[in-house]
């Protein structure tokens, strides 16, 4: 029964590995062929020299960081409060945090464009700042399931009740308890959620494009239509960025006793870790 196994599984693993690696290798080699007859990093140089590239990368970085900040500010106190005082609300809050998984981004942004359009009570789409707010809000919603999971798992790994009581006995206010006691204890969980959130929002296309934002995603599509070799270079860079985000995320997630390896694993409805 054991003998014949490794041949079959080796074959499967090799096939899968080649399916995964050939496109990466091909893309990399393709990106080096911009100058005819020799291999060069010309495509990368061309990308880095473009002002639009720098501008869109800056814009998307700021938007993604803003989304992480807002997400953390909303999720951390909520997850804390639910665990500490309102455990009966937990299924509701969890359900809401998973809702974005069934709302495709294109539907979400459709709702934004109409609800906050020029004739609404809150015409956010009319101003630049308003539209940027919508973009950030959209990114917060997209990463909410992962952020909530990561933070909630982080909270599961520490004894919130005892920590809170200790902080209160020592005279800390509620705000101080969250900021100085709870937050540092779930910091690695937050950071791991943040990296995933960043990799989701940074190259996001649909929301940014339909809100007409000068973000990295729409820039990618434009380059894809105009150029031949730069897209390959950008694909390699994107892959490297996602890789970095995921490695950092795993690193931080692994630091917590209760942290799972990958939030993707615990997408909807994984059994919750009880403290």
């Amino acid at each position: 029964m054991r003998r014949s196994l490794p041949i079959v599984s080796t074959l499967i693993v090799l096939l899968a590995a080649s399916y995964f690696l050939i496109p990466l290798y091909a893309t990399f080699q393709f990106s080096l062929q911009m100058v005819r007859g020799q291999w060069s990093f010309e495509a990368y140089r061309s990308v880095f020299n473009s002002d639009v590239f720098a501008a869109t990368v800056t814009f998307s970085t700021i938007a993604s960081l803003a989304a992480i900040l807002v997400g953390v500010l909303i999720v951390v106190p909520t997850a804390y409060w639910v665990r500490l005082r309102l455990p009966r609300w937990r299924p509701v809050v969890e359900f809401v945090s998973l809702m974005p998984l069934i709302i495709p981004p294109v539907v979400l942004v459709f709702g934004y464009v109409r609800l906050f359009g020029s004739t609404s009570y809150l015409p956010l789409t009319l101003s630049n700042a308003g539209t940027n707010t919508l973009l950030v809000a959209g990114y917060v919603v997209l990463s909410l399931p992962y952020m909530y999971r990561a933070v909630d798992n982080g909270m599961a790994a520490i004894d919130i009740k005892t920590l809170t009581e200790a902080a209160e006995i020592l005279g800390a206010s509620r705000f101080r308890t969250i900021a100085a006691v709870i937050f540092p204890n779930v910091r690695s969980a937050i950071v791991s959620g943040a990296f995933l959130s960043f990799s989701i929002s940074f190259g996001e296309f649909v929301i940014a494009s339909l809100l007409n934002r000068p973000a990295f995603g729409p820039y990618l599509v434009q380059i894809g239509q105009d150029r031949a070799y730069e897209p390959a270079a950008l694909a390699i860079m994107s892959f490297a960025l996602i890789w970095a985000c995921m490695v950092l995320m795993q690193l931080f997630a692994a630091r917590k006793p209760g942290g799972r390896i990958l939030p993707r694993l615990i997408r909807p409805s994984a059994r919750s870790v009880t403290p």
Binding site: P6, T27, T78, L86, G224
Partner: protein
């Protein structure tokens, strides 16, 4: 957030000191701690969707109607839904089969220990490598002047496009989706494969079962709810994908998200309310497949005690 900071402490202190045991006061204060979260969800999640949902049941004059949903059956939109569903089914099926095989090989296949973490880590990256860069990678590989296309032609004398393959067609898109579907499948089916107890296999062996019998009669029936559940998750995952297919084919490949994208840009359906119905139809399909996924997942966990 601020509401919680300012309003949270008072009732909390009161109870911890045991001064007041009045439930009403306690609940009143605690409840406010969730206001920021629900306010955000209401404003940026529920109300926008609700707006679309109500609009889907109205005509241009704002009266109640089901006509928009009836109009989803017109040839254009039916074709879009049909294409979306077929593409999602095919890519989910490919992802499920290859993902389970890969999971079997990596987790139960008796390979060296380092293989599993390598594939798991890579899958974490690849399942997130969707969207435009993925399309670029496949164009550079299997496009008309893609590297693999060229190598096949120059080295092996095989004309891929002459043989009927086209990256910008149904099967090309499905093959591209597989790049994030297979790793996602590996990640979500791994716990189920880990849950297969060696005792079960040993028991089957002692009772004289062949390997084939063990898999067909014991392992697969136990795994089936998980596999079906993951299949539905993959289906939903493919159904909602827009950026990859847009970067590959522009708007020629009219799946539902693409039609909706165009509708938002320029009201191509000439009926805003029909657009809302199209969006609601998408959410319903996503919701149904995710709900069945959750149900099946709960069933699957029976075996994990």
């Amino acid at each position: 957030m601020s509401a919680e900071e300012t309003l949270g402490p008072a009732p909390m202190r009161a109870t911890s000191e045991g001064a007041t045991r009045r439930l009403g006061l306690r609940l009143g204060g605690s409840w406010l701690g969730l206001v920021p979260f629900f306010a955000f969800a209401l404003l940026f999640l529920f109300l926008p969707i609700l707006y679309l949902a109500t609009g889907a049941f109205q005509n241009a004059a704002g009266e109640f109607t089901l006509a928009n949903f009836a109009e989803l059956a017109t040839p254009n939109l039916r074709a879009a839904y049909s294409l979306s569903v077929r593409l999602s089914l095919v890519s989910a099926a490919l992802g499920t089969i290859t993902g389970v095989l890969l999971g079997y090989a990596v987790i139960l296949g008796g390979l060296p220990r380092w293989v599993r973490p390598v594939f798991m880590t890579f899958s974490g990256v690849a399942s997130n490598f969707a969207g435009i860069p993925l399309a670029f990678a496949f164009i550079a590989t299997l496009g008309r002047i893609g590297l693999l296309t060229m190598v096949l032609r120059d080295v092996f004398g095989f004309n891929l496009y002459g043989a009927g393959f086209n990256l910008f067609s149904f099967w090309g898109v499905a093959l591209t989706y597989l790049y994030f579907q297979m790793p996602l499948m590996l990640l979500i089916v791994a716990p189920a494969l880990d849950g297969l107890k060696t005792e079960w296999r040993e028991a089957a062996e002692i009772l004289g079962a062949s390997r084939r019998q063990y898999w067909l009669r014991v392992a697969l029936p136990i795994l089936m709810p998980s596999i079906l559940g993951c299949f539905l998750l993959l289906f939903a995952n493919a159904f909602g994908t827009l950026a990859t297919v847009y970067a590959l084919t522009g708007s020629r490949f009219a799946v539902v998200p693409i039609v909706l994208y165009q509708q938002i840009q320029g009201n191509v359906l000439y009926n805003p309310n029909l657009g809302y119905a199209l969006a609601v139809g998408m959410v319903v399909i996503m919701a149904v497949s995710n709900t069945i996924y959750l149900v099946l997942r709960t069933r699957a966990e029976r075996w994990r005690t």
